[in-house]
């Protein structure tokens, strides 16, 4: 892991609240599913950096797909090419590559860590993407995943978890809102499916020191930033 100021290579707005921030000069991730703590500048507002997972790695740059949810992400959206960005990472444990057929499930912009995953996984890949509605963001993401995955299934409105075919023959990787993750954990238990879920909990330190981001598991609390953010669904309670 490294901490320091890097340069914003580009910041591309997909819509009013969704953008792709590309950072140049940072340590590259070792694994898909890892994240970085990002901040527009050190002690000014907002105080805490935000944990953002890797969307893509291109030409030595790390790309982040970010949706504005508060002032931290708002500050990141206001960055322009050439601006400084405080970057700490790569952090956490990403998605293990089990060298098997993979099913990826992404809810809205929660699909962010699945793109780099799809690029780095070796086997046949199917992705299910669920969006509230068709818009510029969904069109963009669909196009990006289309080139990498063997099969892309997209659902507008409704629940993507209901369209997924669960089987024991493939390994499942998912990321999305808490409600979706809860359903998926249940589905994985019901169908005996091997599933990895990535958690974007609120964090402060990003390295496991403050224990603010814990996830409840059968072995007690685990830190989303250190033992996670990716967890085997069977360990979750």
């Amino acid at each position: 892991m490294e901490y320091g100021k890097v340069r914003v290579k580009s910041n591309y707005k997909l819509s009013d609240g969704v953008f792709i921030l590309s950072a140049e000069g940072a340590e590259l991730p070792k694994q898909a599913g890892q994240f970085y703590m990002l901040k527009a500048s050190d002690f000014s507002e907002p105080f805490l950096p935000r944990p953002i997972s890797v969307f893509d790695v291109r030409d030595g740059c790390v790309d982040f797909l970010i949706e504005v949810v508060g002032k931290g992400t708002q500050a990141l959206m206001s960055l322009k090419a050439g601006d400084e960005l405080e970057m700490f990472g790569a952090l956490g444990n990403g998605f293990p590559d089990e060298k098997r057929d993979a099913v990826l499930i992404g809810g809205g912009t929660g699909c962010a860590p699945l793109l780099y995953l799809a690029k780095t996984l070796g086997k046949r890949k199917t992705i299910y993407l669920g969006f509230n509605q068709r818009d510029a963001v969904s069109d963009y993401l669909l196009e990006r995943f289309d080139g990498i995955c063997d099969k892309v299934v997209v659902i507008y409105g409704g629940f993507v978890t209901e369209d997924v075919i669960y089987s024991e023959d493939a390994v499942y990787y998912a990321c999305g809102r808490e409600a979706m993750m809860k359903v998926l954990k249940q589905k994985a238990d019901d169908f005996g499916t091997k599933m990895y879920l990535s958690y974007g909990n609120r964090m402060a330190c990003g390295v496991g020191a403050c224990v603010c981001c814990v996830v409840k598991t059968v072995d007690g609390n685990k830190r989303a930033c250190k033992e996670g953010p990716v967890f085997d669904s069977r360990l979750l309670v």
Partner: protein, 299 residues
Amino acid sequence: MNVLETTFAGVKLKNPVITASGTFGFGEEYNELYDVGSLGAITGKGLTLLSSEGNDGVRVWETPSGMLNSVGLQNIGVRKFVEQSHKMRRFGTVVIANLGGHSTEEYLEAAEILNAADIDILELNVSCPNIKSGGMQFGANPELLYKLTAEVKEITRFPMIVKLTPNARNIVEAAQAAESAGAEGVSLVNTFLGMAIDTESRKAVFDNVYAGLSGAAIMPIALRMVHQVAKAVKIDVLGMGGICTTNDALQFIMAGAKAVAVGSACFANPTAPLQIIEGLNDYCAKHGLKNIGEIRGIV
């Protein structure tokens, strides 16, 4: 003597910059980023007699220039800490263990067990706002604080400092109680009791409703309290509360702190303690100080 060398609670520190309890784990995590042995001392996560899973629900919340936390002393318990305290020793700097509790009996039993640990200083935490019983109640009442400090002091084999809460009616009286009870020092301040409400759900953000405020936002109030306490006691003062920069640290030292602790600033910038050490060295060089102690308490 090195310009930053300081003796705190009878223990020699290579510099007066310490990490605050609860913000630095047991040092291991940040040691992956830099040599934590270069810090004056490291304080471990708050311990209790028995291990604890801490609080449910949201644990951290961004606030203007700071943050609220409601971790609730999630920790491995003193017995497990004793088994692994040698790991902190390996970093090559002074080790402080922080001990919290819910009752006098619990503090005493835990202090006894901690005597087997390889640490240098015991920080008695009577100021955690995030546990349902004990903790801050001891720190808020000078009589209770005196009694507890004196009893733990009887048992512990380590120099002891008492971590004070800014939520006490009078923090100076609390510091004086700790001094009379035999503590070698006091550390202040712990977090301020605060609150956040989610206006969409119309509910308190935290399961415990109230939580501890830290970060740059509390720095001027913490500084004032350190100034008041340092003027009122003869024992060593570890100043903390929103210290982010060298200038912040210098202000605490000028207010009378013998050492300073960096807490939430490590989240905003994980290298903050290192930058402060470097900055203090530069300040001493620029102002011709032979030792940082020359400016202690000058305001």
